[in-house]
Symmetry: C2
Subunit: 351 residues, 2 copies
Amino acid sequence: MSNQAGPVRRGVKGHPKSGPSIGDVARLAGVSAQTVSRVSTGAEAVRPETKDRVLEAMRELGYTPNHAARALRRGNFRSIGLIAHQVIRTGESKTIEAVIEAARREGYSVSLVDVETPSSSDVSDAVQRLNHQAIDGLIIIRAETATPTTLALPPTLPVAVSDSRFVGHHPAIGADQVGGSRAAVQHLLDLGHKTVHHIAGPDDSGPADLRATAWRQTLQDAGRKVPAILRGSWSADSGYELGRTLAQRKDVTAVFAANDEMACGLIHALHEAGREVPRDVSVVGFDDIDLAEHFWPPLTTVRQQFQQIGNELVELILRQLRQRTQLSDFHGTVAAPLIVRQSTAAPRKRR
Amino acid sequence: MSNQAGPVRRGVKGHPKSGPSIGDVARLAGVSAQTVSRVSTGAEAVRPETKDRVLEAMRELGYTPNHAARALRRGNFRSIGLIAHQVIRTGESKTIEAVIEAARREGYSVSLVDVETPSSSDVSDAVQRLNHQAIDGLIIIRAETATPTTLALPPTLPVAVSDSRFVGHHPAIGADQVGGSRAAVQHLLDLGHKTVHHIAGPDDSGPADLRATAWRQTLQDAGRKVPAILRGSWSADSGYELGRTLAQRKDVTAVFAANDEMACGLIHALHEAGREVPRDVSVVGFDDIDLAEHFWPPLTTVRQQFQQIGNELVELILRQLRQRTQLSDFHGTVAAPLIVRQSTAAPRKRR
DNA sequence: CTCCAGTCTGTTCACGTAAACATTCTGGTG
DNA sequence: CACCAGAATGTTTACGTGAACAGACTGGAG
């Protein structure tokens, strides 16, 4: 069957590829394999000249330790799996960056898998794929509405979820979506707007749901009329589309967009229709992406502290790893402060 | 020393953690380990009822294959290392996303490492870290000016670099930076601008260098005056800072920014100074990030086809893996078309 | 010189898996 | 019934590493 399998690189006959092993180095240096191992792991009690001889042999053979064998022997991989929904979305990539950096500080690398949709089945697939990878812990960003109960995880794998609701089976860290959203809406009301419209994220998204609910609640608490909700898809394009409709309605004076990208698209549509921001319409976003400050006008928005979230996610994993237990009842919240810039103002006096 | 090392989970005495093994499953199912292996790898010639029995035993024990052992046995990891400079930067995250997706399609996962600066030493560090990880190939995004010769790579590790210059030691894929930049500058000249100013990326960046050189060359070819170059750092903030200066100079009517973020900051500064885009100043960016279309005004920019670049990077790795050879003389280019939107126009007639 | 403590190095073994080879079983043919 | 081909399963072995233990060497004290 495989007698024409192409040129196998080395190995007398047995296994494919892989470079020189610890044994080859040992032979060349005239020492035992164990001594080579000692040098390669961090040299406890190896005579300097022996060590040099070994290092020299390593260099000569171009030896690099075989990570698989090492991991097999040690029982860990020094690697964390990371499932993200959409790498592109600024919020996520900032969290990812923070996770990668925090992991690196602890000597861990990160194995990244993305899922097309936040559906439970897609996440399960991703978990499956990672399962077959070499990971010591698993971080899930934006579990959205997926119910982690259904995920077939190895029973002892430490997990941490970036989510603002406590989902009940895994420890979670999340921004204070509700507090941030309430502050955004209240800010607009305080400026004198009668009510606030809302461009929400997709309805299968947990954070979108939290923000929409907080928006509605804040309006109700203030005794204001709650306008019909508008559904976007997080993308600037969707904000633009919805904005084209909103721009026609003169009664719309304040809009809370569920993220900065949609706010950007919305402002685009308003400008295009000749409605000025914030003179005619005030706009608040969510996330505080790097560009938000440089939109025109600079965007008032709710800041998500992704860096901190990323750090805490890694911390959660490491804590479980160190204690050799799984946490399940932990839920941390990270503040989401309102950053007031120039896209909001009091409504124009009319009549 | 380690006699109080905490509760070790299982294992009669020997090794730490790790779940049930193939042997445990075999015992429970009343078959040999090899049969379990056959089921877990893809069942060639296992009687259906035996297979069911094995699967049942796996479920009962919560068995997941040990990836380290598997990788050791098979000699590969089905994993690709990815070194990126800044995950945040839109250009990079789009490439990363494409790489991850392409890798997934081929059954590979991606191990992501970021470097703080594109300096050769930082990249070397990253390689070191990945070296100790389990990877079959290595993709480096934005090698910038790092000279890959100095990287201590395992001699047989397939490498692919995302870079627009042919660096000579590893196969590279890159956008047509020069063509795109020339088109951008030429577009502004064709509109009637006397000359074009340039906000460049940092001077340790290869792509920034290519774009700046192409800009200068195009102006020279057209016999135009070449203004002093302005150095940014890729960030919108840096574009804004430089823009505050530029906005004061009435002779500036056209600016080519080396990326969209800086273009955004620039436009912010111009607006703030009361200079309108494109009426008073035309602006062209580079990258065509998702938001560029929704800036105000929508940004004329050079599109980088990150998706395609990501795909080809993975393809390059796989080709080397399949052929068991390293490529070194390959260099592919991906077109970078100019996308004309509304941030560019003919200069106002004066005098 | 003998003995001992300490330092350095070597030997043995197991980690979990899968390839190669060996064996058993099945059912059909002469 | 003997024989055989092919399917199904079991046995042996090696992948590269590092822990545990064992042995060899050093130099100083008695």
